[in-house]
Structure formats: structure tokens, C-alpha cells
Point group: C2
Chain length 257, copies 2
């Protein structure tokens, strides 16, 4: 088993940010400067084509640390961020660019589904290894409750199969904004932990019905669908239950903003 | 124009409850015991077969008064609560009972649609007259912001056509749980104020797609869909944005609980 190797540390506004590598996977851990012993741990996934420190993700991570006192971890998905691209990654990206240039919606969809599923297959064991390694750190340990913290698109396409097979995850925040395929629906049927699902109501290239079918498939007794108008690239979320993860993972020291 | 005639007053836990009649329409006004000058006014509708003081409605009204300092008004819908039933009401109820006994889903649906539309046609001008009369009270006046506060089923079947033609309503909370017909979709298309829409995800006798089509139809730039598992009769709402009306109507004195 690989262990976490910290490579850099910075601190701002009460949040410590530590870069790490775990084998060949680069990651980042955000935690309260005031300490985080056994605080709940939130796994955040980034969107397709983005990376572990994408501004929106980093902002949500900071918010989660300062509001709830949680620790947040993000890693670069295979072929994303600081990671090398395999021949498969390059081919999928080239195919996708070509299909987009041709405006071929069917082909965009089939490439996205195939590549998304391939990425998830590579990413799920990496997340599990990351969890193993983080739990070996004394500050996290095996007592910290663990939640999946989104986000939409690729972060959910990876998070659903991960949550379906990973009993350490006890609450999960998912979202729409990507093409849903049958394997994802089947993984959702195996998820029983509380789920919050954020749906951009007007995603241009994504079938709304398939996202609703995905929400329908979660076997969770507690699940919440929240939809606002807009595309996932420019949506303004309003009235979302921001306390969802805190309610399920338990809430540490810091008071809500 | 009829004016409000108060017939009884009680008070409990900081909430004054005043029964009134307006012509032949019986209503109830809940307001803060500490005073409510020009406080926002929330109109609450009750479900089919229920009445203005149904426990769930009264509880929501109390909560709205004590948390936000608002005034809440509810009236009995035509043929409901303390109101006499017309021959049309009796016929519709008898038809509905018969269709339910026969388990004839199509007939239940067609009666519900026809009767619901007829009730809305009678109820909308009553709500407008109620607004006129309440605005003539010095404690409310024409400065109080006005919102429609739900609820699901009949309360929404009446609230949508009301909000579509009533410019005094500047924010509205609606919900699913009833059969949506085309006239409602068309009324929804004329609504541009912020809308919060609560959808019971598993209503046995209601087509989920028609409720989603209704949410889709609102022309509002700001609209939020919130769904939880369950039937509208026994749903447990989780993670709903309870500050929705307060955010849009403005918030008086009392601090949020």
C-alpha cells in the first residue's frame, strides 16, 4: 500500500492546504488551521477536463473547512490535472474535439459515455487507495466519518460507482450535467446512504430525463433532488441545503457561517 | 366591496389567531402578538377535502409568524371547511367516491381535473377580494409585501392561476401532489415571480412527468424544484429552503429560529 507523501503546505484564512502524492496520484488536503483530529472527511471530485484545484472546487473546499471544521480531499482524475495522459486519454480527447467541431451530438454522447465509464473504472480504486492512506494518518484515522462531496458531471460519474461499492462513505452529494448511462443507473440502485442530488435544469447537451431516472434509481430512503434553471457551466444555485453533509457526518467545533 | 368582519380571537405562544368572515367566505388570520404593522402577508391554501385550520397548515402558519414575524391568512376553499356545498360540490364528491371505490384511475383523474379547475375558478376571485379587504386594514395596508405560501395539491391548483393574474403576489411556494391539466401549465407560463416548487417524488395517483412539466413551465428566472421520496399525504420534507419567502418578502423583527 502506498502512503501519503506531502510535498507542499500553504495556509490562508484559517485553512491549511497540503499537496500530496499517493503513488502516481497527486492530491490536495484542506483542513482547519486550528486542528482537525478525526474531523469528518469529504471527498470532492472535479468536472471533466478540470483538476483538483479548480477554483470552484477550491472555494467549496475552503467553505467546508471554515464552516464545518471538516477536512476535504481532492485528487486529479486519471488523465487530468498534473497527471500524464495515456494513449486512451489522448484518443478520447481528440475524438471529442472532432465530434464537437462537427456538431455531432450523438457522437459526443457516445464518446462521453465510453470515456466517462473508463475514467470511473480507473478512478474508483484510486479513491479507495486514497482513503486507505488517509485513514493511516493519525489526524484522520478510521473514526472520521466520510462523505462524498460532489460535484456535478465527472465528479458524479466517478462518485456513484465509488459510493456504490465503498461502505466507508455514509452520505453523498451528486449532481447532473453529464450523460447518464445504464451502468450508472445500476450503480445508483446499490446506493442506500443519504443522497443530495443537484440538477441543472437546462443543460444543453444532457438529457434531463436521464438525470431524473438516475435520481429515481438511488435506493436511499433519504434523498433530495434540488433543481435550478441553468446549464451546469453557469448555474447559480439558490436555496440548496448546505447543511446536508454536516447533518449526516456530524458537525465539529466551528459554528455555521 | 365586503370588508373583514372579525368573529373570534385567541392567542397562544406569541401568535394571535383571528377568525373572520368576508361576505360568505370564512377565513383566519395569524399574526405576531408583538404586533405586525405592514409585515409581509403570506396566503396559505389548504389541500383538497381539508380546510383553513388543518393541523399541518396551522403549524406552518404558526412557524411563519414566530420565525419571520409575518402575517398569515387562510380561507376555506369553495365547498370546503365551514362552507356550504353546492350541488356541483356534492356531485363531484359523490363521483369521486364512486370512482375511488371502483379503482378507476382514469375517472378519478378526469373528475379531479374538472372539479379542481372549477374550484380554482371560484376561489381566485375570492382570494383577490380577501386581499382587497386585508389591505384595507391599517395593520396590513398596501405596503405589506405579499407571497403565496403553498401548499401542495388543491392549494397549488388554486395558487397558480391566482399568482398568474395577481400582480400583488411577488413570490410563490407551490407543490405537486395533484393532477396537472393543460390550463395550469398555461397559467404557470405567465408566472415570472420567484417560485419554490415542492415535489413528492412518489405520489401514487399523480403522474410525475406532469408535475415536472409544470415546474418547467414557470417563466420565473428564479425557480427551485425540491423533491423528496414519498406520497404527498405522508412525505417527510428534508433540506427544504425554509427562508425562501423571507428572502423575497423581506424579513421583519423576529430572528430566524
Amino acid at each position: 500500500m502506498h502512503s501519503v507523501h506531502f510535498t507542499a503546505e500553504t495556509s490562508s484564512n484559517g485553512v491549511v492546504e497540503r499537496d500530496f502524492t499517493l503513488g502516481e496520484v497527486p492530491g490536495v488536503l484542506w483542513s482547519p488551521a486550528s486542528g482537525s483530529d478525526h474531523a469528518p472527511l469529504v471527498l470532492m471530485g472535479h468536472g471533466g477536463g478540470l483538476h483538483k484545484k479548480t477554483p470552484a472546487l477550491a472555494a467549496r473546499a475552503h467553505d467546508t473547512v471554515t464552516t464545518w471544521g471538516f477536512t476535504v480531499v481532492a485528487v486529479d482524475a486519471p488523465g487530468h490535472g498534473d497527471r500524464p495522459r495515456t494513449a486512451q486519454d489522448e484518443q478520447a480527447r481528440a475524438d471529442l474535439r472532432q465530434a464537437m467541431a462537427a456538431g455531432d451530438a450523438e457522437r459526443i454522447k457516445s464518446i462521453s459515455v465510453r470515456y466517462g465509464a473508463a475514467l470511473a473504472q480507473r478512478a474508483v480504486p484510486e479513491w479507495q487507495a486514497t482513503l486507505d492512506a488517509l485513514q493511516a494518518l493519525p489526524e484522520i484515522g478510521t473514526e472520521a466519518p466520510i462523505g462524498y462531496g460532489g460535484g456535478i458531471s465527472l465528479g458524479t460519474a466517478i462518485g456513484i460507482p465509488l459510493t456504490a461499492i465503498e461502505p466507508r462513505i455514509t452520505a453523498a452529494l451528486f449532481g447532473g450535467g453529464f450523460v447518464v448511462h445504464q451502468a450508472l443507473i445500476e450503480a445508483a440502485r446499490r446506493i442506500t446512504v443519504p443522497v443530495q442530488f443537484l440538477l441543472p435544469w437546462d443543460d444543453e447537451n444532457v438529457d434531463r430525463q436521464s438525470a431524473l431516472a438516475l435520481f429515481d434509481a438511488f435506493a436511499s430512503k433519504e434523498k433530495t433532488l434540488h433543481a435550478n434553471p441553468g446549464d451546469h457551466r453557469n448555474i447559480r444555485w439558490i436555496g440548496v441545503d448546505n447543511a446536508f453533509l454536516a447533518r449526516h457526518l456530524g458537525h465539529v467545533g466551528a459554528s455555521p457561517a
